[in-house]
């Protein structure tokens, strides 16, 4: 597997307990920049949908005058999608229900600086 400038970030995030995969995507068009996801996960679809959610949150934040979105979490019956962005790039993490989301949030926010 080739290494990219995002390999370190993805490796850090996928090592966290309960994480099923991590992607770096372009918020503008939902295209994958780099990814490491478990077999069976449709990375391209996840990237597009996560980018759309992030983009919509940013628009909502702008409409309400709330400054830049720094972190997003979607919670569902059987897991979570967490995302943090910088400029046009968004780090997206897919995690199962039992994942320690608070800890994961801290790690994502610490890692997001490398999204340049």
């Amino acid at each position: 597997m080739s290494t990219t400038q995002f390999t370190g970030l993805i490796s850090t995030l996928t090592r966290q307990r309960g994480v099923l995969g991590c992607l770096v995507v372009s918020e503008r068009d939902g295209i994958i920049v780099d990814a490491d996801v478990q077999a069976g996960v449709d990375a391209a679809a996840v990237a597009a949908l996560a980018a759309a959610l992030y983009r919509r949150s940013r628009l909502c934040s702008e409409a309400a005058g709330l400054s830049t979105v720094s972190f997003l979490q979607l919670e569902s019956e059987r897991g979570h999608i967490c995302a943090a962005g910088r400029d046009d790039l968004v780090a997206v993490v897919i995690a199962e229900t039992g994942a320690p989301v608070a800890q994961l949030r801290t790690v994502i926010l610490q890692s997001v600086d490398s999204l340049v």
Binding site: L49, S57, Q73, E75, S76, E77, G79
Partner: protein, 284 residues
């Protein structure tokens, strides 16, 4: 003249007996060319006097011209031709509502809602009528004029419904640095307020920016086999915003200052969600 109107006009000119006049009339109505729309509808009805959709079109043109009695008559004709016509039931419900005949309006809108539960405009109108009936305490409000101008009691009941909606979450939010909104499927504000620090209500702008997020969240969770989504939370430098689905097509949103702990924001979101569900499900 738009390309679509030109295309439909050409098609009708080629075949004057075609039902394309319904599409043409609707397009003209939608673009505000009401006199022209009326002429097209009336001419079409001369050839197709028993077409329910043509009468439905004429009724909607009458509503846009504020001719409620004529609209009512047309929808009444539609229901004679096609008793299950959901647009006509919705339309009759609307006219009766405007005339202050709330109990009858509720009956027609209930029927329309049972037929097409996915139409948020029917659900919103039905909810509005039911809350007004609640405030009217079941009493019939005197009928408005044929032009549809509301009577004072009708306006008063409407004002009370609006006030109830505006203050729906006030008790939960208290005096804290939080605000909450209830949005319908189109992103329109159903209840609550979103007041910015400088005192502006940006509820409609926030709602518009979130139109469709419910579907996107559902698709994302479904695609990953994560089941039904329960909340989306995002943080900014100054605030935390959390939202959750309510009933079939609504969304409740809570925004709080960053100083409010995330766990508390979620608890407030749950409380607002429960309050919204009860309110939306409320009947007379």
């Amino acid at each position: 003249m738009s390309d679509e109107i030109r295309r439909l006009s050409d098609e009708l000119a080629r075949d004057p007996s075609s039902l394309v006049f319904i599409q043409l009339g609707e397009e003209l109505r939608r673009t505000g060319q009401l006199d022209l729309a009326l002429r097209v509808a009336l001419r079409g009805l001369e050839r197709h006097p028993h077409d329910a959709d043509a009468h439905d079109l004429l009724a909607r043109i009458h509503v846009d011209r504020n001719e409620l009695t004529a609209a009512f008559d047309e929808w009444d004709t539609v229901l004679k031709l096609a008793p299950g016509h959901v647009g006509a039931r919705k339309g009759v419900g609307y006219v009766l509502f405007k005339q202050g005949r709330l109990a009858e309006a509720e009956r027609y809108l209930s029927q329309a809602s049972a037929q097409d539960g996915g139409d948020p405009s029917i659900a919103t109108a039905l909810h509005m009528v039911r809350r007004m009936l609640h405030f009217a305490d079941g009493a019939e409000i005197p009928q408005a004029s044929a032009d549809g101008n509301g009577t004072a009691p009708l306006a008063e009941a409407g004002r009370r419904v609006e006030e109830e909606a505006r203050r729906l979450f006030a008790e939960i939010l208290g005096e804290g640095e939080q605000t909450a909104l209830l949005l319908d499927a189109s992103g329109l504000v159903t209840a609550g307020l979103y007041i910015t620090e400088d005192g502006r209500d940006v509820g409609q702008e926030v709602g518009a920016s979130l139109a469709g997020i419910r579907d996107e969240a559902a698709r994302a969770a479904e695609h990953l086999g994560l089941g039904a989504w329960s909340s989306v939370t995002f943080e900014t430098d100054v605030a935390t915003v959390a939202m959750a689905p309510v009933l079939d097509d609504s969304l409740v949103l809570v925004a709080a200052a960053r100083s409010v702990p995330l766990g508390l924001v979620r608890r407030v979101l749950q409380q607002c969600g429960r309050r919204a569900s009860v309110w939306l499900g409320a009947t007379v």
